[in-house]
């Protein structure tokens, strides 16, 4: 069934809890190489939890528990001997609210590479320019690289966060409602950017916005109350949703 592609991520029977409350119920799905998968669903249904399971950011919550497997290129990332830092170097993340560090623009980008032992300044400069260009921010900030990142506008900050995530060149990019806190123009820019990036990255995009999901994604997942209701090619779901709950969400009757 899956032999045509090199699947980057496979999730098998994933269940998660915060304390006694079960959030995700038996999720099984896969994410293809060089494609955008949109995860849709009403707020509170567990989209962020699913995303944060993939880079193990949920581990920060004391009450978090999980069963099942998440396989990244054939290895279970929750195996007892799995290296969580190595995992996070391969899985970049962009958050709902732009969260650049309170440092200069340049330092935001070089933070990751320096962390992982790169100190050659020419190479760091190259990464700064390269990632800022990829994030379509270079022209706006190239003369102000030493200015504090927090002085940028919200949309620019979010693109900086994308550049920061790209700085350690992860093959996978998780994006948790990356435009929901932005104005429509900035949002459109970032959508374009996602289309650009999908050639080279496996992108998992959580979104609350059905139209956006349909515009940018190749596959889509519909999550409802912690259940994976539907998961297929976006085109198919957009044209003919199988489950009545998916249809209700797409047409705006729930959510």
């Amino acid at each position: 069934m899956k032999s045509d592609y090199e699947y980057h991520i496979e999730i098998e029977n994933l269940c998660t809890w915060f304390g006694e409350k079960q959030i995700l119920k038996n999720i099984t799905c896969y994410f293809e190489d060089s494609s955008v998968t949109a995860i849709m669903g009403p707020s509170g249904c567990g989209k962020s939890t699913l995303l944060r399971s993939i880079n193990r950011l949920n581990d920060l919550v004391d009450s978090f528990r999980m069963t099942g497997k998440i396989m990244l290129q054939g290895e279970n990332i929750y195996a007892p001997d799995a290296d969580v830092y190595e995992l996070r170097r391969r899985v970049g993340m962009v958050f709902q609210r732009p969260n650049p560090f309170p440092m200069s623009i340049r330092d935001n980008i070089t933070y990751g590479p320096r962390l992982h032992g790169l100190h050659d300044s020419d190479e760091l400069e190259r990464i700064v320019e390269h990632t800022l260009r990829r994030a379509a921010l270079w022209d706006e900030v190239k003369d102000n690289l030493d200015q504090p990142a927090l002085n940028l506008s919200g949309g620019q900050q979010q693109r900086l966060c994308i550049a920061r995530a790209l700085s350690i060149d992860p093959p996978i990019l998780l994006m948790d409602e990356p435009v929901s806190a932005l104005d429509p123009i900035s949002a459109a820019k970032i959508e374009d950017l996602i289309m650009q990036l999908k050639k080279d990255y496996t992108i998992i995009l959580v979104t609350h916005n059905v139209q956006q999901a349909f515009r940018v994604s190749d596959q889509a997942a519909f999550l409802y109350l912690g259940e994976l209701v539907e998961f297929d090619k976006t085109k198919r779901i957009a044209e003919a949703p199988e489950d009545p709950r998916t249809e209700a969400f797409i047409t705006g009757r729930i959510g």
Binding site: N55, L57, Y85, R89, N99, P102, Y111, L115, P148, R164
Partner: protein, 333 residues
């Protein structure tokens, strides 16, 4: 500020062309203002009275500072104009009022060294402790520790002084094998211990108020907890930690009782940490009671207080400038 003053002057000179109308005008003005207030809505009235109420404390604190300065200056003035005194007293190391020698350099050096020593011990330790509390400690442990820390901040300084006299000073004598443990080191250490709780508590608050998303962004890039704590969280908490440092600087310079009891109160400039010394607050406390014997003696003590105040302001201003720069370069607020 100068602009508004200029305007005021201009308005005054404009008015003075016609003194009669001006006098009449001001009466009319007052009437009009009163009428305006009467006509105002309730919420506006509350707003105005609130502003006045909030303005009063500001005016009061400014006038208190001005009054203190004036009072110190008036009291200290005689020593600065006397032939035995002059501005040279701050570089003169000999203090002997019976001999007409009023050099206060010893006290300046003593206070300066004790403060610097205390700060350079208390800040790294306290901030380190705060990082541990905020970033590593489970909440169940953090709460009781915070409670103890806050209690430590409330212990009267005389108690710290007694403890230092009985425990710290003999310990210094044994560890470093010196004859006299009453020293700059003892003063700096006890000050550091006294400052520690404040530094820990204020820094911990600052670290706790750093948004969680900064930590998440750093961890998501593959950083360890420690890398995140030091490179991101600590850096983002600089303004709050700066506040802790300013608070402790002020307290360190002005602390009296504990230092008085352990620095040995010896009139000599300390060249090593183990030398005894005499700090500014101690000389004032010890000698004010009989300084009336010579008027200049008394005046010199007030000069010490004036220098103390200036030193405290200088320390805090330098700290504030550094912090402002830190905030600005990070784009925080």
């Amino acid at each position: 500020m100068t602009d508004s003053r200029l305007n005021e002057k201009q308005q005054q000179s404009d008015g003075s062309h016609e003194p009669k109308t001006r006098a009449y005008g001001s009466v009319a003005n007052v009437k009009r203002i009163i009428q305006n207030i009467k006509r105002m809505s309730r919420s506006k009235k509350i707003d105005i009275s609130g502003k006045i109420l909030l303005f009063l404390p500001t005016v009061m604190s400014i006038s208190i500072i001005v009054l203190i300065f004036t009072f110190l200056w008036i009291e200290a003035f005689p020593i600065f104009v006397a032939p035995e005194g002059g501005i040279g007293i701050i570089t003169n190391p000999i203090w002997n009022p019976n001999d007409g020698q009023y050099g206060i350099l010893v006290f300046i050096a003593g206070s300066f060294l004790c403060t610097i020593l205390a700060i350079s011990i208390a800040v790294p330790l306290g901030v380190g402790g705060a990082v541990f509390l905020s970033e590593y400690c489970p909440n169940s442990l953090r709460r009781p520790i915070r409670m103890i820390v806050e209690m430590m901040a409330a212990i009267p300084s005389i108690v710290y002084g007694l403890w230092a006299y009985l425990v710290l000073v003999p310990t210094i004598e044994t560890i470093f094998n010196v004859q006299n443990g009453l020293s700059v080191l003892a003063g700096g250490l006890i000050l550091a211990i006294m400052l520690l709780p404040t530094v820990v508590a204020v820094s911990d608050d600052a670290l706790q108020s750093v948004p969680r998303t900064y930590r998440e962004a750093s961890l998501a890039l593959g950083a360890t907890k420690t890398e995140t704590a030091i490179r991101v969280v600590l850096s983002a908490a600089i303004p709050g930690i700066g506040a802790a440092i300013i608070l402790s600087l002020g307290r360190a310079v002005g602390e009296t009782m504990a230092v008085l009891m352990v620095t040995g109160n010896t009139l000599q400039i300390p060249y090593t940490l183990f030398d005894p010394t005499y700090v500014m607050t101690s000389i004032i406390t010890n000698q004010l009671g009989y300084a009336f014997i010579y008027p200049l003696w008394r005046s010199a003590l007030f000069a010490v207080a004036l220098v103390l105040l200036l030193m405290s302001i200088m320390f805090t201003s330098i700290a504030k400038i550094l912090i402002k720069w830190g905030i600005k370069s990070r784009g925080l607020a």
